[in-house]
Structure formats: C-alpha cells, structure tokens
C-alpha cells in the first residue's frame, strides 16, 4: 500500500498559505493587489515572531517528554518585558544589559522549574503552574510603585523596522529566521539536542546509554525559561509599553503552536520548524478573525477547534504508518 504522508510542518505551512489566499477574497482583503498581499503576509509573519520565539522554549520542554510543559512562560514574558522596560529606560546603551538580564532571569526561573520537577518530583504541569503564580506575584510587587521606563529607540529599530528601506522585510523576521536556524542546529546537530529527544522517548534507555537525564532535563527547563525571557524582550521592543497581562495571552497559543507544528505532546518527536509554522497559522487565524470583526469568544473557539483538528489529523497519520 502506498502511504500518503505529509510531514506536520509542511501541512501546517500549507494550511497557512491556503488560509491566506482565501483571506484575499474577503471584502476588505488584498484582492488582486500583489503589493498589498505581500505587505499583509509580511505583517502576519512579523506578528508571528513573538509567539514563535516564546513557543521555542515550549517546544523544548514538550520534546523532553514525561508530561513536560511550561505554564510559566507567559508570566516570564511579562516579567522580563517589565525588567527590560525599566532597565533600558530610553537609553540605547542599556539595551545589551537588559537583554542579558532577560535571559538570565528567565533561565533562573526555568532552572527552579527544572529543580522542582527533577528533585522534588513535582509534575511539570503543577510545578510550572505554581511558578507562574509566584512570578505573577513578583510582577505585582514590582508594578505597585508604577513602573516608569521607556523602550530605547535602537530596540524599535532592531525589532520593528526593516533592515534597509529598500528591502521591506522587518528585522524581527530576519531575527526569527536566524533564530530558527540556531534552534535547528541545537536540536539536530548537537549531542544535547539528540539527548533531548532521547529523554523524551525513554529515560531508562537514555540513562543506560550514558545520557545524564537529570542534567539534560535541568538544562531544557533553564533554556526554556531563557527563551521565554528573550520573548519578553522582543515583545516589549515591539509594543513599546508594558502591562501586567502582557505575556499571559501567549501561553495557550505557545502550546498550541507546538502541537499544530506536529510535535508529539508526549515528547520525543517534533521540530522547531513545525512550531514556527504553527505560530504562523495561529497568528494568521487570529488576525483574520480580527479583521472580520469576529468577537473574541468565537476567535477562541476557532483556535481551539483548529488545534483539535490538526492534532487528530497527525494522530491518524501516525496510526497509518505503524
């Protein structure tokens, strides 16, 4: 029997393209104007970058298996966004230190998650949910004195604007492509990446094959925290303002993007390309529904249904293959 099989990242990407082309037919769509279409497409991808980066950490923890998940990602985004905002305070020369602070703070929170999961044997769901509460509390404490700060001009230029006026591609997209290549290198071309997949499938086999499961798991959660921190840095660079509920709306989509991208939620199989495609699909659907002036409640329902449909399709494909 010839088996028909499309890899999940490609499937998600095809879905995105089809949806985008259909959106052109809408009353206020791009119609036949290729320039408008390109501009719209670019804008969608640009908006996907933030979700995509935040979902990178989510991809890693989910790949590492054993119910791996990071529910603290949203609150880390808010926290590091605020820290960046306060640290930079409009000065270009503080951007680098704000960037490093974001990564380090995120990594520390992630490490705490990892420690709780590996040593206190708390399930990732509970541990990261609890951590999310703690971090949110921390944000409120910081915020009480009313945050005063400002994004630096260089951040806006680096994140929101194109590299040169001649090539109308925002820097955020270029950053994302480079980031995607780095993620691919990490997962597919380092021993560490191979070990993440290994512990995601079978930790006994991994241990008996010499993989330091504990160390890999701690590193995965720390890295996921750092990536969420990076996400916060990017988000504030784009929006230019901070508020308490800045990061939380990214949490559910970050998990959904991983799933839509075809990564097994039970771990051990998947890719960051898939997550990138998933982030684009979700962002596209959200913005289409928004332009169609569909209320938020319906938007959520459509997003949820998309997730269910995609996952069940992947599940069926796997069923055929084995």
């Amino acid at each position: 029997m010839k088996r028909f099989y499309i890899s999940p990242p490609v499937a998600a990407l095809i879905l995105a393209v089809v949806l985008f082309l259909l959106s052109g037919l809408l009353p206020n769509g791009f119609g036949k104007d290729i320039h408008v279409a390109f501009a719209q497409a670019t804008n969608i991808v640009r908006l996907s970058v933030f979700l995509g980066v935040i979902a990178a950490g989510q991809t890693l923890v989910i790949l590492s298996g054993y119910e791996g998940i990071d529910l603290s990602a949203g609150s880390i985004v808010t926290l590091t966004a605020i820290l960046t905002y306060v640290t930079v305070n409009g000065r270009d020369d503080k951007v680098l230190s704000a960037f490093l602070i974001s990564l380090i703070v995120g990594a520390i929170i992630g490490l705490l998650n990892g420690l709780g999961i590996t040593f206190l044997k708390i399930s990732p769901f509970v541990m990261t949910l609890g951590m999310s509460g703690v971090v949110t509390g921390l944000i409120i404490i910081i915020n009480h004195g009313n945050v005063s700060g400002k994004v630096a001009p260089i951040m806006t230029r680096l994140i929101a604007r194109p590299l040169t006026p001649k090539i109308p591609i925002p820097n955020a997209i270029i950053i994302w492509v480079i980031f995607g290549i780095l993620m691919w290198l990490l997962l597919e071309r380092t021993a560490f990446g191979k070990h993440i997949f290994a512990i995601g499938v079978n930790r006994i086999t991994s241990r008996l094959s010499g993989v330091n499961v504990t160390a890999v798991n701690l590193a995965v959660y720390s890295l996921a925290g750092a990536l969420a921190g990076f996400g916060g840095f990017l988000v504030v660079g784009n929006t230019g303002v901070v508020f308490i509920a800045l990061g939380q709306p990214f949490l559910f989509p970050s998990i959904a993007a991983v799933a839509v991208g075809g990564t097994l939620l039970s771990g051990g199989k998947g890719s960051y390309w898939g997550t990138m495609a998933g982030a684009i699909v979700l962002t596209l659907i959200t913005s289409l529904l928004t332009t169609m002036q569909i209320p938020d409640s319906i938007r959520r329902m459509v997003l949820g249904a998309t997730l269910l449909v995609m996952i069940s399709i992947y599940g069926r494909q796997r069923g055929f293959r084995q």
């Binding site: 597919e188 021993a191 070990h195 079978n202 086999t205 241990r207 094959s209 010499g210 051990g268």
Partner: protein, 506 residues
C-alpha cells in the same frame, strides 16, 4: 470438601513459541504437589492455565472428572482455585485490608463498606502469621509501606481469603525469611489436613522435599515424570529435568584457554557485592574471558550487572584492572569502556519511535563534534549494521519498524560503535529467533577472541554450557557454584540453580 483437578495434554502457544506442548497434572484434595522444571519449562504457564489467566490452545481440564473451562481468574476463584503469584499483584497506595478484600468488601446497607468487619476479618488473617511480622501490623497500613516479604505474605493472605480448595504457590517462598517459611509450611500442612490441595512451585529443592507429597516434572512444556516424592532422590529429579536428546551445536572459543586465561590479567574483580537481592558475591573475570551467569530467573543476576554498570547503588568493592571503582551513573561505566545490554529491550534498550541511526549513536553523540558530523555518523552506523547483518530498509527508519531480532541487534550495535573492553549482557537472546541467536553466538565468540571481557547472564542453560568458559550460578543472591571445564554440564548447572549443593564445586 473433596475435589480433584486434572490437566490433560495441555497445549499453550504464544505466537510461534510453544510454551506447553503436552502438560499433564493431577491433584487431589489433601495433597501437596511440587511442580518442578528448569527455566522456560512451562511451570508458570501451566499455573496460569489452571488459574484462568491464559486460555489453553489444546488439551483439557477436568474438575472432579467433569470438563471445565477456566476462562478467567474470576471463574477460577468461583471454582475455588486461588494463586499466589510471583509478581506481586497488590495496589501500593491501598491499605492491607483493602487489597485483600478488593471487590469482595463486606458491605452494610446502601453498599457502604463495613470498615469494622473488614478490619476484623483482616486481623484474623494477619494473625495466621503472628510472630513473624513486624509488631503493630495494622490492617489500614498502606501496602507501599511494607517490605517485600510482608507484601508476599499479604499476597498469600489475599489468595486464601476466598477460602479456596486449591492454592497455587508460585515461588511464594522466594522473598520470605526462614521463620516465615516455617509458618507458611505449618499453614500448608493445616490446609492439607482440612482437605485443601496445594500446588507448590519453588526453586529451592530442599523445600520441595520437606513439604511435597508428590512431584510433577516439566521439561520444554512437556510433563516428563510424576510420582511420590519419597520414591525419588534429588539427583533423579534433576536427571528428569535435563533433556538428553537435545544436542545444541556451539563452537567454544576457549575450551583450551583455561590455562591461557590464567596468564592473562584480571579485568574485573568483584568483592562482597551486596544489593537488595545480592548477599555478598565475589568473583574475578580475566581479560578476554567469557563468563556466564546462570541460575533461575530473579536470583540477583540483574542486580549484579546493573551494579557493576553503576545504575543501582551497592555495597562492596569492584575493581577494574586492579583499580577500585564505584560508578554512580552508567555514563561513568561507559567512559571506562563498559557496555550493558539490558534485559528488556523495549523498556531499557531502545528509543522506539526514533530512527535506527539515533538508536545506534545514542551513547556516542558526544564524539561527533559540533555541528554533529552526521555523514560520519551514518557511515559508522552503516558499518555496524553490516557487521551485525542488520536487516532494515534504511538507517532513517524508526526502530519500531524492525523485527525483534533486528531490534536486539541495534541494542548491541550501539555499543560496538564505541568498541568497549567489557560487555555485560542481561539475557540478550530472550525472545530472539533462532538465526539471530546463532549470529549472536558467533559475535560473542569473536568479541571474546578479540580480547573483550564478557559477563553473560542467560536464562537458557544450553547457551551457558555451550558458550562460556566458566559459569557462576546464582541462587538466592549468592554464588552457589562455579562451574568450569568438566564440571560445566547442564546437569550441574540445574542442580546448582535449585540450590542442590552436590552439583558442582560449591
């Protein structure tokens, strides 16, 4: 209460493997029958057939002369047949009382459990083992808080709580201490006096002679002898368990090398090794030696291999090439050139949904630099695949697409890539087809010729006798015998497995 159960010409197949080909068994109330056989002879299968855990493929069961079909453990219980299994069937989070009376709890009105009666009935059962249990053994204690021997006793109490006429004790004494065994035997004699029947399976020959009235010997799924225990000696029983006609061809590398190995240096030295199941094991292995580890299943062989490999904590001294080592993680052992082929390949040896390539390279990725040299990895993996005659469509196919024998080759292949000095093998030919077995034997022989040190546990006695220079026979966590040269015969191996001391050089 008087009854009789008879199993006649029972056949049981698991896929292509014949577990029972012609098993016969007769037991009457007021009788204790010892069921005897080597590894894989079908003892557990016949007890599962009688208890309804597996359905038979041929033959029949007669209860009081009438044909019965025991299709599930519930049916067996209904017929008054109860089994104490070797693998414990208790639910750790639940209390002693809840475990014993699970699904049969005494009820009050509105189907509410009558706690008082439940505890009272449990106390009654517990009092059977009075004096051999820890003080203050309460019915509401969770099972997870109990030691292995206590769990085994609860298992026994659970089996007798249905007041059966036939009780099957499958290795029920293995984890009990002497006093508890004594107590159990007193109870067994009481049951016998009351007209109950007991099928007794044990790896301790001495216990069999103490308690049983009759015996039934299984060999390769066939009943080969029955009779009164007083008419037979240990030696004769062992003769019965050994197959005469079966000639297996093995090429032994070093039949002559016994003198050679003396001149070679000692590679591995183990002194007074103790774990949960090992109670002081000492031995030496020379470089290039192929040493077998034998005995019935679960006598500490697994702990022996895993503690050397650094996977489980242990007490005692282990030296490699004269240097004291104490590994705390398998990765340390691997760095020292040791490899382990674990016993359950799906659970411990493979990443099922990942590719053959990734499975083969799992212990070795760190050697391939950054970014990983995937082409070189593929070349190396392909070379190992060729060496092992690995049948696969492509290196990039998942291991789940391979047959059992080929999957097992992957488990060994991942170590060949690293070229270790010492191999620890935990029953590597279990569930592997005949051709692959032959290839393994050739591989082991070659590795041994190359000077690799091999410690090889197998549940297949023919393999051990045929392949190994020496065999250490484990029994109850100690080395019962060391067999080599002329003493390395299947007869001695089985005798030592059963704890009979005159078998080898004890």
């Amino acid at each position: 209460m008087s009854a009789a159960l008879s199993a006649q010409h029972v056949v049981k197949r698991y896929g292509g493997v014949v577990a029972l080909s012609d098993a016969n068994l007769d037991i009457h109330s007021g009788e204790i029958l010892a069921l005897i056989g080597a590894n894989g002879s079908g003892k557990s299968t016949i007890s599962k057939v009688i208890n309804g855990v597996v359905d038979l493929d041929g033959g029949q069961l007669l209860l009081d002369g009438k044909l019965v079909r025991i299709t599930s453990p519930q049916v067996a219980k209904h017929l008054g047949i109860s089994t104490v299994f070797q693998e414990l069937s208790l639910i750790p989070q639940m209390s002693i009382a809840d475990n014993i009376w699970l699904t049969r709890e005494p009820l009050k009105s509105f189907k509410v459990i009558n706690r008082k009666l439940l505890n009272q009935k449990t106390e009654e059962l517990l009092s059977l083992f009075d004096g051999t249990l820890r003080t203050k053994f309460k019915p509401d204690l969770p099972v997870s808080a109990l030691s292995p021997d206590e769990k085994q006793i609860i298992e026994i109490l659970k089996a007798i709580s249905i007041d059966p006429w036939l009780i099957i004790l499958d290795e029920a004494t293995a984890s009990l201490d002497n006093r508890q065994v004594e107590r159990l035997f007193e109870l067994v004699r009481q049951w016998k006096a009351k007209g109950k029947a007991v099928i007794f399976i044990s790896h301790r020959m001495e216990e069999i002679f103490r308690i049983a009235d009759r015996f039934s010997v299984l060999r390769n799924g066939k009943t080969v002898g029955e009779g009164d225990i007083k008419d037979i000696t240990e030696k004769e029983l062992i003769q019965l368990m050994i197959e005469r006609e079966n000639v297996v061809q093995f090429t032994k590398v070093s039949a002559e090398s016994e003198s050679q190995s003396r001149t070679k240096s000692v590679y591995l030295e183990v002194e007074n090794l103790q774990t949960e199941t090992l109670h002081g094991v000492s031995f030496r292995v020379h470089e290039g030696e192929l040493v077998g580890v034998g005995g019935l299943r679960g006598q500490g062989q697994r702990d022996l291999l895993l503690s050397i490999f650094g996977d489980i904590p242990f007490h005692g001294n282990i030296k490699i090439k004269g240097q004291s080592i104490h590994f705390h993680h398998p990765k340390d052992a691997i760095k020292h050139g040791i490899a382990l082929v674990p016993g359950e390949r799906a659970r411990e040896g493979l990443l099922y949904i990942r590719t053959v390539l990734e499975n083969l390279l799992l212990p070795s990725w760190n050697k391939y630099g950054f970014p990983l040299k995937i082409r070189k990895a593929k070349e190396d993996a392909a070379r190992v695949g060729d060496r092992l005659n690995l049948v696969m469509a492509s290196l990039m196919d998942p291991v789940s697409s391979l047959s059992g024998g080929n999957a097992q080759k992957v488990v060994i292949g991942k170590w060949l890539l690293r070229n270790p000095q010492c191999y620890l093998l935990d029953d590597p030919t279990k569930g592997v087809d005949v051709n692959t077995k032959a290839e393994f034997y050739a591989l082991l022989t070659n590795l041994s010729k190359e000077g690799k040190t091999i410690l090889f546990y197998s549940s297949d006695d023919d393999e051990l006798v045929g392949l190994c220079d020496r065999v250490l026979v484990l029994h109850d966590g100690i080395i019962r015998a060391e067999l080599k040269g002329r003493t390395l015969t299947k007869e001695n191996l089985i005798a030592a497995s059963l704890g009979v001391s005159n078998g080898g050089e004890a």
